[in-house]
C-alpha cells in the first residue's frame, strides 16, 4: 500500500531540495530576528541552533535519498552537513574558549563533542568509503543529540578538583573516538546483513525487540494507579533533585504510565506476530506484523507527544516526600532519547521494508562491508585499550588505585573482552560474514550499555559522566 503510494508520486529531485532549502532559510530567518533582538550573533546557543537547522535539513535530504535513490539529494545533504559541522565546530570552540577546558566535563559538553564527531564521521564515511546512506542513520541521531543539548543544563561549570587532569581529556577523547568507531562498525554490520540477503523478518524481530526493551525499561518506573515516575528537577539551580548522595528524587506523573503500558503492548504485537509466524510457519502473520509496526509507530509518536507535554514542566506528587515537586524534560533526557530512538528504529525498518532493492543497489557489496566492519573494529579496539589505560592512569593519580572494579570500569573491561573475543574468532577461527556481523552488533550493544546503562542504572565513582 504505502509502497505503491511512494511510487505513484515520485518526488522529483528538485522539489525536496527546494523545500528543504526554503525551510532552512525560513528557520535561519527566524533565528536572525532573534539575533537582531539580542544583538549577539556568534553566541553558542545561536551556533547550536544553526547546527540543528542544517543537520535537520541534511537528515531530510539523506532520508529522501534513502527513499528515492536520487543522487542529487546526497550532494545537497553533504553540503548541509558541512554547514552544520562548521556551526557545530564554532559551538565547540566557543565552549572551549569560555570554559577554558575541552568540552568533556558534563553530559551537555560530551553530547556537543559526540555530535561533532558523528557529523565528521558521516562525511568521512561518505566521501572516503562511498557509504552514502549512512547519513540516513547518523543525522537523526545528531538531531536528537542537539535537541537534548537544548534541554540539558548548559552553563559553564567550573571543574571540581578531581577533573583537573590532562589524563581526563585524553581518556574522554579516546572514549569518544572508540565509541564512535564502534557505532560505525555497528551501522556497517547492519548494512552487511542487508546486503547479505538476511530476510527482512530478521530486522522486524530486531527492531521489535529493541523497542520492547525500551518500553520495558521505561515501565520500570511504572507506579501504582498508572503513574510514571520521572526524576524531579530543581528549576532554580538547574539540577536534578537528590534526597541522599547518589539517590535521585522521583515525581510521579499520573496516567502517563497507562499510556506507556498501552504503547508497550502495541510494540509487543509485531514481536508476538513474528514469533507466531515462526512457530506456525505461516507467512500471513508477517504481513499483519508489518501493519502492526505501522500502528505502533503512530502510538509511539503519541506517547512521545504526551511525554513531552506532561514532563516538560509542571508540579507532580512525589513518592519520596510530601507535597508537589517540579520536573522538566531536562531531568529525563534518556527517556526522551529512548522514545525518539524507538520511533527512529521502526521508521528505518519501514524504509527497509519498502525500499529494500534500492538500498541494496546503493550500498557497497557485502564483501566490502564485511571488510570495512572488521577494519573499523581494528581501529576501535586499540582505542578502547588506550581509553581504559588512560582512565586507569588518571584514577591512579586521583584516587591512588588504577583499578577499583567500579561498574563503569568493569563494563569497559567487558566491552574490551567482547571485542577481543570477536578478533580471536575472526583471526584464528576465520569467522566472516554473518557471524562476525552479529558479533559486531553485540559489541555495540555492550558499548551502549557501558555508556548509558551504567551511568543511569548502576552507580559508582563515575558520577561525572
Amino acid at each position: 500500500m504505502a509502497r505503491a503510494k511512494v511510487e505513484q508520486h515520485p518526488a522529483t529531485g528538485m522539489t525536496l531540495i527546494v523545500m528543504v532549502g526554503l525551510s532552512i532559510a525560513f528557520l535561519l530567518f527566524i533565528a536572525f530576528l532573534n539575533v537582531v533582538k539580542t544583538g549577539n550573533i556568534l553566541s553558542e546557543a545561536n551556533l547550536l541552533y544553526a547546527a540543528l537547522v542544517f543537520y535537520a535539513g541534511a537528515g531530510a535530504l539523506y532520508l529522501g535519498f534513502g527513499i528515492t535513490g536520487t543522487d542529487a539529494y546526497v550532494k545537497f545533504a553533504s553540503l548541509a552537513t558541512w554547514a552544520g559541522l562548521i556551526a557545530n565546530t564554532g559551538a565547540v570552540a566557543h565552549r572551549w574558549y569560555e570554559a577554558g577546558h575541552p568540552p568533556f566535563a558534563s553530559v551537555y559538553e560530551m553530547l556537543l563533542s559526540f555530535v561533532w564527531t558523528l557529523a565528521a564521521l558521516t562525511l568521512i564515511a561518505e566521501k572516503r568509503y562511498g557509504v552514502k546512506v549512512i547519513g540516513t542513520v547518523t543525522m537523526p541521531v545528531a538531531i536528537v543529540g542537539v535537541v537534548l543539548m537544548e534541554l540539558l543544563p548548559n552553563e559553564v561549570r567550573p571543574l571540581v578538583p578531581a577533573l583537573q587532569s590532562t589524563w581526563l581529556h585524553v581518556h574522554v577523547t579516546l572514549a569518544m573516538l572508540a565509541y564512535a568507531a564502534c557505532a560505525l562498525s555497528f551501522a556497517l554490520a547492519m548494512m552487511f546483513l542487508i546486503q547479505d540477503k538476511v530476510k527482512t523478518e530478521f530486522f522486524l524481530a530486531a527492531t521489535s525487540v529493541f523497542t520492547v526493551v525500551i518500553y520495558a525499561a521505561i515501565l520500570g518506573r511504572f507506579e501504582r494507579w498508572g503513574g510514571l515516575s520521572v526524576i524531579a528537577w530543581d528549576p532554580e539551580n538547574k539540577t536534578e533533585v537528590f534526597i541522599a548522595r547518589n539517590v535521585r528524587m522521583f515525581v510521579t506523573i499520573p496516567d502517563l504510565g497507562w499510556l506507556m503500558l498501552l504503547v508497550f503492548v502495541a510494540v509487543a504485537v509485531p514481536l508476538a506476530l513474528y514469533v507466531l509466524a515462526r512457530v506456525k510457519k505461516n507467512e500471513a502473520f508477517l504481513d499483519t506484523a508489518n501493519k502492526a509496526v505501522f500502528v505502533s509507530i503512530l502510538l509511539q509518536a503519541l506517547a512521545l507527544v504526551f511525554f513531552i507535554l506532561r514532563a516538560r514542566d509542571g508540579q507532580y506528587p512525589s513518592l519520596d516526600a510530601e507535597g508537589f515537586y517540579p520536573t522538566s524534560l531536562a531531568a529525563s533526557p534518556f527517556i526522551l532519547a529512548a522514545l525518539v530512538g524507538g520511533i527512529f528504529a521502526n521508521l528505518l525498518y519501514l524504509l527497509l521494508l519498502w525500499r529494500r532493492e534500492d538500498l541494496e543497489r546503493l550500498l557497497p557489496d557485502a564483501d566490502a562491508l564485511d571488510r570495512i566492519t572488521y577494519k573499523t573494529i581494528c581501529i576501535a579496539f586499540p582505542l578502547l585499550t588506550l581509553m581504559i589505560a588512560a582512565g586507569a592512569f588518571w584514577a591512579n593519580r586521583a584516587w591512588g588505585s588504577y583499578w577499583n572494579w567500579d561498574p563503569k570500569e568493569t563494563w569497559a573491561a567487558i566491552t574490551w573482552l567482547v571485542y577481543a573475543g570477536y578478533l580471536h574468532m575472526r583471526i584464528t577461527r576465520g569467522w566472516r560474514g554473518r557471524r562476525a556481523a552479529y558479533f559486531a552488533i553485540l559489541g555495540f550493544a555492550v558499548v551502549m550499555f557501558t555508556f548509558f546503562g551504567v551511568t543511569y542504572l548502576l552507580h559508582g565513582l563515575h558520577a561525572y559522566a
Partner: protein
C-alpha cells in the same frame, strides 16, 4: 584405557591451550564481572542497605558464595589465574611454530608451494639473470630490499618487510600477563589506607581499609592545608603542604593537590578529603563591663584558657559544642559538624569565689548571662582544619604500566604492520616449456590491500621487462603467440 599421569597432563595442556577454552574463560569472566556490577558489593555498600536489598536467606547465600565481594572472591582470583594459564599455554603451544617461521623464513619456494599460493603472477622472459636484476630494481623502487637465494640448481629472489609483525600477537599476550602480574603483586603486597592530619601534626600510623593500623618507617607531617573556591562557591583546589620525616630529620617536602600525590619510598599520599575538625582553635570576644568603669576591649580565648578581665574577675573558655542540642536541662553534642555551635564561658570572681556560667547562645535555664559583670559578644570563631590523605602502596603498578605500553606497541603491530613476503623465481612453464618469471606474494593480514599492491608491482615488472630487452624479447613473444 589407562589414565597415566603423562596423558592427563597432556590432555589438560591441550584443553588449556585451545582457543575454545580461552573463549569459554572470557565468557565466564564477562558473566561474573557483570554480576559484580549488578549485585551490591560488600565493602562499598552499607551493611544496612545490603539487608534492606536482600532477604536474610538470600544474603547468607550471596555471602557464602562470595557473590557479595566477587572481585576479591577466591574463585574469581582462581578464574583470572586460569585465564593467565590459558594465555600462557596457548602462547607456548603456538610459539615454537611461529618462532620457526620467524627465525627461519621460507626463502625459496618449491613446486608445491608455487602451485597453491593464491597471490602470484607469471611473466614470460628470455634471460634469467637479466630478468632477476630487473626484478630486483623494481622491488627496490617499491622500497623492498631483496636477497639473492642461491641453490645448487637455481637462482631466485626473496624480499620481505616487517617480519616482526608475526610476533606481535605474542607481544600482546605477554603484555596482558605483565598487567595480570602487576595486579597479583598488588593484591598480595599492596595496601591502601587513610590518615587524617591537622596542620602541625605528624603521624606514621595509617588506618587500613580493614580497620587495622600500619606503622610506616617514616612519618608524614602536615605543614598546612587549605581550599580555594570558584566565585560560585564550588571547590577549585584542595592543597596540603606535606613533609616526610625520617629518623627525626625532614627528608622530603611537597605541596600536594588532587591529581598530584606525594610519593616516597613506594608509598603515595593523595589529597582525598579536606574539612573542619569541629574543634575550636580560637574564639574572639568583645568584652564590655556592665558598670562602665573600663573601656570595651577584645580578647582571644583558646580552649580551657583563662584571661583576667580585672583584678578580681577572670573568664575561662570551658566548652565548645559544634552542634548542640538541649535535653532535660543538659547540653549535648549532636555531631561534629559546625552547624549549630554553642560556647560555654565561666566567669569567676576571686573575692567571692563564685562563678557564673555564660552561654552563647543564651540557653534558657542554664545560661546565667545576666548575672555576669561583663557583657560578652562573640566576634569570630576559628576552628581547626584537617586534611584527609589516602595512602597507598602498589608495588605492582610498574608492571601494569609496562604491560600497557607493551600492549600499545603490540596492538600497533598486530593491526597496522603487515608482514609482506615476495618471491621471484625463474622457472620453466610446465605446459609450454617456456621460461617464465614466477612471482608470488603473501601478507599475513589485510590481504585485499596487498593484492592490489602486488598487482601493481607485477604490472610494473611486466612493462619493465618488455621495454628493456626489446630486441631479444620479440622472438619468444612471437613464438608464444604461435602456441
Amino acid at each position: 584405557m589407562s589414565l597415566s599421569l603423562s596423558s592427563v597432563v597432556r590432555k589438560t595442556w591441550q584443553t588449556l591451550s585451545s582457543v575454545k577454552t580461552g573463549v569459554i574463560l572470557i565468557i565466564l569472566v564477562v558473566i561474573f564481572s557483570a554480576a559484580g556490577t549488578v549485585i551490591l558489593q560488600r565493602p562499598m555498600t552499607d551493611p544496612d542497605d545490603m539487608q534492606r536489598a536482600y532477604s536474610p536467606a538470600m544474603l547468607r547465600f550471596l555471602d557464602a558464595t562470595g557473590l557479595t565481594d566477587i572481585f576479591h572472591a577466591h574463585w574469581f582470583v582462581a578464574l583470572m589465574l586460569l585465564v593467565s594459564l590459558s594465555i600462557i599455554a596457548a602462547s607456548v603451544e603456538r610459539f615454537p611454530n611461529a618462532w620457526r617461521y620467524f627465525a627461519r623464513p621460507y626463502k625459496s619456494p618449491d613446486d608445491g608451494f608455487r602451485r597453491v599460493l593464491p597471490i602470484q603472477a607469471q611473466i614470460p622472459i628470455t634471460n634469467e639473470e637479466a630478468a632477476l636484476s630487473t626484478a630486483e630494481r623494481v622491488l627496490r623502487k617499491n622500497r623492498l630490499k631483496s636477497e639473492h637465494i642461491v641453490r645448487t640448481n637455481s637462482f631466485s629472489l626473496f624480499s620481505e618487510k616487517h617480519r616482526m609483525s608475526e610476533m606481535a600477537v605474542y607481544i600482546v599476550h605477554a603484555s596482558l600477563l605483565l598487567i595480570f602480574l602487576g595486579g597479583i603483586v598488588d593484591a598480595l603486597w599492596g595496601w591502601r589506607g587513610f590518615v587524617t592530619l591537622t596542620p602541625g601534626s605528624a603521624s606514621n600510623q595509617i588506618e587500613m581499609s580493614n580497620g587495622a593500623n600500619r606503622a610506616l618507617p617514616f612519618s608524614i607531617r602536615c605543614d598546612g592545608t587549605g581550599e580555594e573556591t570558584y566565585t560560585d562557591g564550588t571547590p577549585k583546589k584542595w592543597w596540603s603542604k606535606l613533609a616526610v620525616v625520617e629518623n627525626g630529620r625532614e627528608v622530603f617536602r611537597k605541596e600536594i593537590v588532587v591529581n598530584d600525590p606525594l610519593a616516597y619510598r613506594g608509598v603515595r599520599f593523595y589529597q582525598a578529603s579536606y574539612g573542619r575538625t569541629g574543634k575550636l582553635e580560637q574564639l574572639l570576644l568583645n568584652v564590655v563591663p556592665k558598670d562602665g568603669k573600663t573601656a570595651a576591649r577584645e580578647i582571644a580565648l583558646g580552649m580551657n584558657q583563662t584571661v583576667e578581665l580585672d583584678a578580681d574577675t577572670s573568664v575561662q573558655l570551658a566548652e565548645f559544642i559544634p552542634d548542640f542540642v538541649v535535653e532535660d536541662g543538659h547540653v549535648y553534642a549532636r555531631s561534629t559538624d559546625i552547624s549549630n555551635p554553642a560556647v560555654h564561658l565561666i566567669v569567676s570572681s576571686k573575692k567571692t569565689n563564685k562563678s557564673v556560667n555564660v552561654w552563647f547562645p543564651a540557653i534558657e535555664g542554664i545560661a546565667e548571662n545576666a548575672a555576669s559583670p561583663y557583657t560578652f559578644t562573640p566576634k569570630d570563631l576559628k576552628t581547626g582544619l584537617f586534611t584527609g590523605l589516602q595512602v597507598s602502596h602498589e608495588p605492582g603498578q610498574w608492571s601494569v604500566w609496562a604491560g600497557v605500553v607493551l600492549m600499545a606497541i603490540g596492538l600497533t603491530f598486530v593491526f597496522y604492520v603487515v608482514h609482506i613476503r615476495i618471491w621471484v623465481v625463474p622457472v620453466k612453464d610446465i605446459h609450454s616449456g617456456n621460461l617464465v618469471l614466477w612471482i608470488g606474494g603473501s601478507a599475513n593480514r589485510n590481504r585485499d590491500a596487498f593484492e592490489q599492491t602486488f598487482k601493481k608491482l607485477a604490472e610494473q615488472l611486466r612493462s619493465e621487462l618488455k621495454t628493456q630487452p626489446a630486441a631479444e624479447a620479440e622472438k619468444p613473444a612471437a613464438s608464444m603467440a604461435g602456441n
